[in-house]
Symmetry: C2
Subunit: 421 residues, 2 copies
Amino acid sequence: MIKASICTIGDEILIGQIVDTNSSHIALKLEESGIDVTRMISIGDNRDAILNQLDSELKQNNIVIVTGGLGPTKDDITKDALKVLSGSNCYVLNEKQVEIVKRILHSRGLDTMDINIQQAMVPDKCEVILNKLGTAPIMAFHFPTERYGHRASLYSMPGVPFETLAALPDVMENIKNHFNTSTITHHTIMTYGIAESALSKKIEAWEDSLSELGIHLAYLPNTLTGVRLRLSMTGGDEKTNNETIDNALKRLRPILGNIIYSEQDDKLQNVIGKMLKIKGSTLSCAESCTGGMIAHLITTVSGSSEYFLGSVTSYSPLIKQSVLNVAEDTINSNGIVSAAVASSMAQGVRKLMGSTYSIATTGWADSYGDEHEPAGTVWVAVDGPNGTVSRRFEYHSDRIHNIERFAASALNLLREYILNN
Amino acid sequence: MIKASICTIGDEILIGQIVDTNSSHIALKLEESGIDVTRMISIGDNRDAILNQLDSELKQNNIVIVTGGLGPTKDDITKDALKVLSGSNCYVLNEKQVEIVKRILHSRGLDTMDINIQQAMVPDKCEVILNKLGTAPIMAFHFPTERYGHRASLYSMPGVPFETLAALPDVMENIKNHFNTSTITHHTIMTYGIAESALSKKIEAWEDSLSELGIHLAYLPNTLTGVRLRLSMTGGDEKTNNETIDNALKRLRPILGNIIYSEQDDKLQNVIGKMLKIKGSTLSCAESCTGGMIAHLITTVSGSSEYFLGSVTSYSPLIKQSVLNVAEDTINSNGIVSAAVASSMAQGVRKLMGSTYSIATTGWADSYGDEHEPAGTVWVAVDGPNGTVSRRFEYHSDRIHNIERFAASALNLLREYILNN
């Protein structure tokens, strides 16, 4: 199996200034190509430490992916270490990257300075993969087999997460051209509304049947997107693998039913967006304890203005009454965290905005609460052409994670409502 | 200087399933105590790999902090590696941790099972630091100096971020009892509204004066909270250090003025919350392109219901008219992304909710836009007792980061407005 190591360079990581998100994105892509990530390492901006660490990683791995350590003020250190490591003789200017640099700076109304051009200078033994969104190009170094006793390549990528993400497909392409990566057939199943342990129990018999088919199953849980199931098969013929996985899925779908919300790598808000677009329907929200999180999630989707009309965060009970038209008596007789108040909020915002559907939440994120509705409890309601439905959820995390779970539970209730509509 | 390494254990990290946020929190605390974090490493759930890596880290460092690799199904691997590494003879039950386990499970309406009790079993050579929020205790192993040729301690913490965060002060206390950590005097200055490069230029002369005073300055930029300046002095007498830093700050404050929003480790929404509480004032928001992010940020603060009445996300122009009372003509003559529309939204929501202050945003997060107001542009307005102010901001990031910058810019404009009020 091809082995890889991911190295992050930057003092800012070692002093806890930033969280490294690049490594997990890169690991996911490597793993999906059947490459075994043996470890991840973060080291500081020190030329000798970089040189020693990368050399040591190349001894133990076929692929070493480096992120960070580049940029106008840092270039010297990492680039110099790479120049020495690769036995390069000099730096050369990559004209194509210079053009990109000029275009990016021009679009921001900035002149191109020498320091920007410098970024397109690379050690002569590297293969350049263009960075289309940034100034520092990706550098690929392919070492002769005798150097480390095995095929070894090093890829140096910028540290800026959106540049790294954008360049990752080109890097993966280059890896596939240089290494005999296994054919891996993948299929993703997104589920929501069931905990990992309960899900594992529910599909136990089905899961047991997978190993003799050569299918590997991974559970990938996430607060906002539920449990992602990933089925994969390594090697063999892709068409046969796809058929094997398809047959397994035919047996899984009836077991899970609506718990499955997508068979792509989707989020709840993307799936809801697609459903609303197809139906030509619109949506509004009334939030209390989620405080804007649901509207925020919905509007992270580009193009959400096609179906999302808007929302009201009615944090104060008086706003629930004055803007959403919740009756004072409904609040007093049922309590502010109740099915009745959630339902009335959903009805109120739907009428206010004239949307096809609406979602509402009322709950205790981390404080207050009573014996019936303790902290961590939320009532969610959905209103639409088929009337109002409400449901209660209870979670046991901190304020921020409870809010996230509340919001995701509300989105999922809406999804189920639209499906049953 | 005392050297430390942070090791994260878990296959879920190497396959890119989760992002490791623990390491940066731990690194920050170590760095603040004058401990030098030499590197961070993530490895898989493999007994021999764990054993070898931890042994190798202890050879090169005084302190090794391990997170993850514990939990009902994984305990065996990491704990067994730690038992072997520490030369422990057996496992012993920590009764105090058992009591916490029972209490936590009981509060969730769950019975305590054998598998939960198992988590409170630890190798006999470890010192237990109680985990008050979870089931697996923190294990501290202090090695005799002759073992590694230097003082060496290993701390094994759970992988669940909120448990790790909660236990970190106790771990730091234990470290301070076992190691002669330097006295470090810190002071934090939170700034917003100025880029790191511009800030560095503005305070260049002041910064130059710091080194001969023995003050170290670090810039820690963040999309949502601006640039944090951290002043620190190592060694010496704490009282004298505080005076030296105080004197330096006396010269900094007039240079930066209102750019400084806090001298604690605060976020904009916390500072605004404190200001509103003191004044007994209230707040509402009208969001368009920020889609609920501002309300979400405000309501991440526990107790925000004391001053936050609510918000309207008017994603559709029609909702801007019908709910916020923005005149159709204002939209048509000025464009939807304009000072006039932002101002009218702020006025509309303030009237609707009856709040002391209001914030509004209208902009293009990543698409549409024209030559005057390209994608990345936002108009922000604040309305209050002193009338309406509006300001334009332009950013060049992706959709999610533009939304974050828009929201933070709006919060900052509100802060400035209240200060000038």
